[in-house]
């Protein structure tokens, strides 16, 4: 028996979330005496594939065809299911990314497997009763889901599990599954990626601003702060609703849920819908001129002050700290 990890790449490069998924699978494998086999789909160079051994994969199945360069849900599902069957996987691990959210249920359904999506810790228990901790009620609770089927699927939230190095030299095997033409009925027309920006759901540091910034013209200092910290930028719902920032930056109940190591909220009051999107952040810093802002109640550190004065000073202080 073994654990299959589907590792997602972006333009041929694995990101941190892929290594997190492999490390996570390796930690489970160590508990249960299994080994980890990674599955890569797309055009990924050998140097990248070798990295997967470093995080715990003993073998890498490499599906590399032009047709599969970009994500096609049904075709990718078919390949993962095919690989899971051929290695007799008892557990399939993947990232709870945008594509992962579409894949995980389809893979689980095809394998009659139980699914825990959005795992935030290592599972407990073993065999036919694996218990997985996931978020519930939009950040207001956690649920422990018991997976009781012979085959199980777990999708792992980004930034939830620390990467561990294992120092295994993985063998790389080209894998050539047969895929039904009908699985390619979905056609990718266009991919637009802002290459100079850090992806919000995976960011380790997020700098977020709200209506307190008064207008879109004042975002330069937010971007500069994010730049100094190597952070992604985000915003509150009123800001994206007003068109000051794109919807893709909206963090909260109906936007993106993030769990960075550091979330800096500037000029955001902290409505319950916003807090739902940030409450699993490890450290929260709030900068707001209103000392009564509800956000201070869930913050670790706070500064009561005018963002237009505090943020430029913070940028200067961080530059000094980083020797910039």
């Amino acid at each position: 028996m073994s654990i299959l990890v589907y590792v997602e790449n972006t333009d041929g490069q694995f990101k941190k979330s892929a290594f997190e998924a492999v490390s996570y699978a390796k930690a489970i494998a160590d508990q249960s005496g299994n080994h980890v086999i990674a599955l890569s789909i797309g055009n990924v160079a050998e140097g990248q594939l070798n990295l997967l051994g470093k995080y715990g994969a003993t073998k890498v199945l490499n599906v590399n065809t032009e047709q599969l360069k970009s994500f096609v849900n049904q075709a990718y599902t078919a390949i993962i299911v095919d690989a899971a069957k051929s290695i007799e996987a008892s557990l399939i691990v993947l990232s709870n990314s945008f594509s992962g959210k579409g894949l995980a249920p389809r893979v689980a359904a095809k394998l009659n497997a139980a699914l825990a999506d959005g795992a935030i810790e290592l599972p407990t228990g073993s065999g036919d009763n694996l218990q997985v901790k996931t978020g519930a009620f939009s950040g207001k609770a956690f649920a422990f889901v018991a997976l009781t089927s012979p085959i199980k699927v777990i999708s792992l939230n980004p930034n939830s599990f620390e990467i561990k190095e294992s120092d295994i030299a993985a063998t790389i095997e080209n894998y050539d599954p047969s895929i039904d033409a009908a699985d390619f009925s979905t056609i990718v027309k266009e991919i637009v990626r802002a290459t100079d920006k850090i992806s919000l759901p995976e960011a380790e540091i997020v700098v977020s601003a709200g209506r307190g910034l008064k207008g879109p013209e004042n975002w330069a200092m937010i971007e500069e702060l994010a730049n100094v910290l190597g952070a992604a930028t985000a915003c509150s719902k009123p800001v994206s609703d007003a068109g000051w920032r794109p919807h893709s930056e909206h963090v909260g109940q109906t936007g993106i849920v993030v769990s960075p190591n550091l979330y800096i909220a500037i000029g955001i009051s902290g409505a319950i819908q916003h807090l739902a999107g940030v409450s699993s952040s490890k450290t929260i810093v709030v900068i707001n001129k209103d000392p009564e802002a509800p956000f201070f109640k869930v913050a670790d550190y706070g500064i009561v002050g005018d963002a237009f004065e505090v943020v430029p000073k913070l940028i200067t202080a961080l530059k000094t700290y980083k020797g910039l």
């Binding site: 994500f71 849900n73 599902t77 990314s97 959210k101 579409g102 995980a104 249920p105 389809r106 689980a108 359904a109 497997a113 139980a114 699914l115 825990a116 999506d117 009620f137 939009s138 609770a141 956690f142 649920a143 422990f144 889901v145 018991a146 997976l147 009781t148 089927s149 009925s185 979905t186 990718v188 027309k189 991919i191 637009v192 990626r193 920006k197 850090i198 919000l200 540091i205 994206s240 919807h247 893709s248 909206h250 109940q253 109906t254 550091l262 319950i272 699993s280 450290t283 810093v285 109640k297 670790d300 550190y301 706070g302 500064i303 005018d306 505090v310 913070l314 202080a317 000094t320 700290y321």
Partner: protein, 245 residues
């Protein structure tokens, strides 16, 4: 075009979340239930697509009799008819099987769901339904247009967006940006009472998972306030104490 919209009955966004029975069950005492906000986006989009006699909108929900009020709200917003599968929604797999079972016999061109429910936060039901019906799906869409038999979807990806086309029938999960959320008007509320709400019995589904218990997060400690004139202090706290920079 025949459109099916899957509706989840969830606690109001501002509800206090507590549990009973030794933290194994959600405490619904005093909780207001609403149409899941993401499902409202799906419903609003369906109504737009069907407008002017171009189609019909059926809503489906899995729940007991207490779900009817939420379903009536969807009818008041503009759905034509509704189905309630008379069962307590055990998990996403159970719900998806009920929906797929109904959809199988009723040939919908398009099935819309919200991207997730705000109670269990899974993004499972839509893709499960699509998998059971063996049709394409997109779990989180930001824009959706339909032309003839083709759906064009913009979906979010890490650090950007992707535009894709898929053949109908398909299942699409909707997020912000797909449609402006509609609210019922007086006429809608009046007519909702007379629109058909059919109750069907559930099919058997194997149970693969269950929730063992719930936990609420530990409250964060009291905030450490730093003087606005001393931002260097914040930098050193983040470095030395929180160890996040």
């Amino acid at each position: 075009m025949k459109i099916l919209v899957c509706i989840s009955n969830v606690p109001d966004t501002t509800s206090k979340i507590t549990f009973t029975n030794d933290n194994t069950a959600f405490n619904n005492a005093g909780v207001q239930y609403i149409v899941n906000p993401y499902d409202e986006i799906a419903l609003s989009k369906a109504i737009d697509l069907a407008e002017g006699g171009k189609g019909t909108v059926t809503v489906i929900s899995v729940g007991d009799v207490t779900t009817d009020a939420t379903i009536r709200k969807a009818l008041a917003t503009g759905a034509d008819n509704a189905i309630r599968v008379n069962a307590t929604p055990r998990d996403a797999w159970f719900v998806a099987n009920q929906i797929a079972n109904y959809a199988k016999e009723n040939n919908f061109d398009l099935i819309l769901t919200g991207r997730e429910s705000i109670d269990y936060n899974g993004t499972q039901v839509g893709a499960f339904v699509a998998s059971i019906l063996n049709i394409p799906s997109v779990s989180i869409s930001k824009k959706l247009t339909i032309e003839g038999n083709t759906a064009t979807v913009e979906r979010e990806i890490e650090g950007g967006k992707e535009v894709l086309t898929l053949n109908l029938p398909a299942v699409i999960g909707t997020a912000e940006g797909v449609a402006e959320t509609k609210i019922p008007n007086m006429r809608g509320i009046m007519t909702a009472r007379t629109k058909p709400l059919d109750i069907i019995e559930p099919i058997e589904v194997a149970q693969l998972s269950h929730i063992v218990k719930f936990e609420t997060p530990d409250p964060r400690g009291v905030v450490t306030l730093v003087d606005a004139e001393d931002v260097e202090k914040l930098v050193s706290l983040l470095h030395e104490k929180a160890k996040v920079i």
